[in-house]
Symmetry: C2
Subunit: 418 residues, 2 copies
């Protein structure tokens, strides 16, 4: 099928582009490079050097005689970009990864909160209008997150909940209580997309993905230039990836708080297969279909102990180091999430074992010299506001308001501020 | 109390500013003038001429020896504005009306959809950060809408729903299925604010308001310059206000579709009292409190027949005119929404009668010469996309993408688009 991958330069976008290209699909890879700019701004780097998207595509195309077509542009700020792609290429499906993916980044302050909203929500809205206008039958496969649900005290269903109340029933969107502004933007996207299905008869599959771990897919192993951007830092690194790098450096594994925080997890290889299964079995016109995309549940404590055991098998003695939780979240809670939809379509999970962690330790070990240890401890707390950044301009703004707007009895000059 | 009213130039913002000022509160009135610019763009006007905010405040202050302080500025694009107001004035409460309020406007196309998202969601985020940083104990009274709920097949509760599922229970946010991008932005705000309560211990009251009707409050009647901006057009006019003006012009009342669409309604006088009750009885720290703010439920058909009867009492014979529904919504549905929270705090509703409609007809009649009849029929359908607007730049964009990004085997030049 003809397929557009949005956010194709990312940790999952690039492996997905290759995976689908390897299986004979016609792939157009779109990215705005925002993640690389954020990395530079924050002083973090992936564990393994990552070639520019265009070079990776060139390598892939030469190696496999396939054609991944690269388009560099910003779907969030340039609505014409997606309109042009839709009008010219008539894609049959979209895989939409093009979102700022870090919860800690979104909680750094007001600027980052707003950037996350604009990049994520505007991009999805631009996609909805382009599909509605040019390729209304196309299937949007949108990456959501299990973090949209938060940690409810009842079982988590796949996006929808059958509710009985006062003797009547309805099938309703599952209520959401996420833990960061990043996760909130995914909740906003879900509501906007459900509306698109209801109003415009769009086809949407929302993949509420768990936490992904792992370096390698079949395709990344073909050439070092095809690596994906594995992060171990406090901003973009997911918990298992961070623990592996900490273990390798001989650090205590930084368990946040009590460590009872339980989430769904999956191997990057299973992400590839889940996206493929969603694409091969599209949602119906008008259907907002949700799958919970993970294979196993673990608490942070479970993962730390697993990494400890895997490290011990390599002769490394590692301790667990409990640190104050920079996040505001429950540390002991019920968690039971349904995840049968993708298994029903044919997913055969790669489960997480000491051997899988051991292989991750081996890869990390080969790139030991690139690890920037200072970027591992958490630098963002959930309490931070914007005051510090706004302070320099505050006195001037107060003066301006007073001078411009408040005369005599408090009545403003009639000119409007632009 | 010291009180900031955001969106103080609007249909409800201005009467609320006077109402609270008349009751001895210290009012700071903030507006960015966006509604007036939208009116100019769309060629619509309120029924009665509306003086600039500063002039209205001057008139009020001279008449009553009170002080409504006006600040003209944009809380959505200038985060320093709210930081400065909070830091300098230390307000105890905010009434947040500062949102683009029209569902049809938000559905006109992509530009209007994005403007609605930016104005509404960004403004609320800026407010959250300013309160968190400078006045964390302040109470935010946020105007939401009953339209956030949509038309579920079960009773609508006040913001929260006790859910039993597989033998376990939780108190969850009531699931939302709104009918327009405007209503979606209010859903996004609700999620963001609930998060602020949970993470930052904010105090928030979310007033999910029904459809407001009426011209006059005790304070608007004191002087013609204190009028509020009553709209009867297809973009900003709510249904009863539109029917009153249609009746006066001798038009058939334009019932959309079957007319079974049922919603909650309230008199503008009750809006004033509801906001006051919320302010006098603030939410607790950390509490996201929701009230459904309306007094009676009516179907569109009910309202049309009511206006017909009221017109007949004035000797006007009016017909109902069924028109194709420009919206995509259920026209026959269950609707039963709880609205006891504000009554429990002391609300005594002004109910809708033939006499109330008769009084509205009298006011409209006094301004008959200002009615622009061409602005009454619906001009926006829910099906519209962005293609028409993007068309002129489309060919150029396709060329640019091809020229810039696709060389030889489809690999892009490595420069990033800004």
């Amino acid at each position: 099928m003809k397929l557009v991958i949005l956010g194709a330069d990312g940790y999952l976008g690039w492996p997905t582009a290759m995976y689908m290209s390897a299986r004979g699909h016609d792939v157009i890879a779109v990215d705005n490079g925002i993640k690389r700019r954020m990395e530079a701004e924050l002083g973090v780097e992936p564990l393994v050097a990552v070639a520019p998207l265009a070079e990776r595509a060139k390598c892939w195309n030469e190696l496999t005689r396939s054609t991944i077509k690269v388009v560099e542009g910003d779907i969030a700020t340039d609505p014409t970009l997606l309109a042009a792609i839709c009008s010219k290429e008539r894609p049959e499906a979209f895989v939409h990864y093009a979102e700022q993916p870090s919860a800690p980044y979104s909680m750094r302050g007001l600027d980052e909160c707003l950037l996350t909203h604009h990049n994520n929500v505007d991009g999805t809205l631009n996609l909805m209008f382009a599909v509605h206008d040019y390729v209304p039958d196309a299937h949007i496969v949108k990456l959501g997150t299990m973090g949209e649900y938060g940690t409810p005290n009842i079982d988590i269903e796949e996006g929808w909940l059958n509710v009985s109340h006062n003797g009547r029933t309805d099938r309703m969107l599952y209520p959401k209580k996420p833990h960061s502004f990043y996760h909130l933007t995914k909740v906003h996207d879900s509501h906007n997309l459900e509306f698109g299905c209801r109003m415009w008869k769009m086809r949407v599959t929302d993949l509420n993905q768990g936490v992904v771990y792992g370096f390698d897919t079949e395709e990344t192993l073909l050439d070092p230039i095809l690596n994906t951007s594995f992060h171990y830092d406090d901003v973009f690194g997911t918990v298992l990836n961070r623990f592996v790098v900490q273990a390798l450096c001989g650090y205590p594994l930084s368990v946040y708080g009590k460590g009872g925080q339980t989430r769904g997890y999956l191997n990057i290889k299973d992400t590839m297969r889940c996206v493929e299964l969603a694409l091969l079995n599209p949602a119906e016109r008008g259907e907002f279909r949700v799958f919970n995309q993970f294979t196993e549940q673990f608490s942070v404590q479970d993962l730390a102990e697993l990494v400890q055991r895997a490290a011990a098998m390599k002769g490394l003695q590692i301790y667990l180091g409990y640190v104050e939780n920079p996040r505001n979240e429950m540390e002991n809670h019920y968690y039971n999430a349904v995840h049968t939809g993708l298994v029903d379509l044919g997913l055969e999970p790669h489960l997480l074992t000491e051997e899988v962690v051991g292989a991750m330790l081996d890869v990390a070990s080969r790139h030991r010299e690139r690890i920037r240890e200072s970027t591992i401890p958490p630098r963002t707390t959930w309490e931070r506001g914007a005051a510090e950044r706004l302070a320099p301009s505050l006195a001037a703004e107060i003066e301006t308001i007073e001078a411009r707007a408040l005369h005599g009895n408090g009545v403003a000059a009639p000119t409007l501020r632009k």
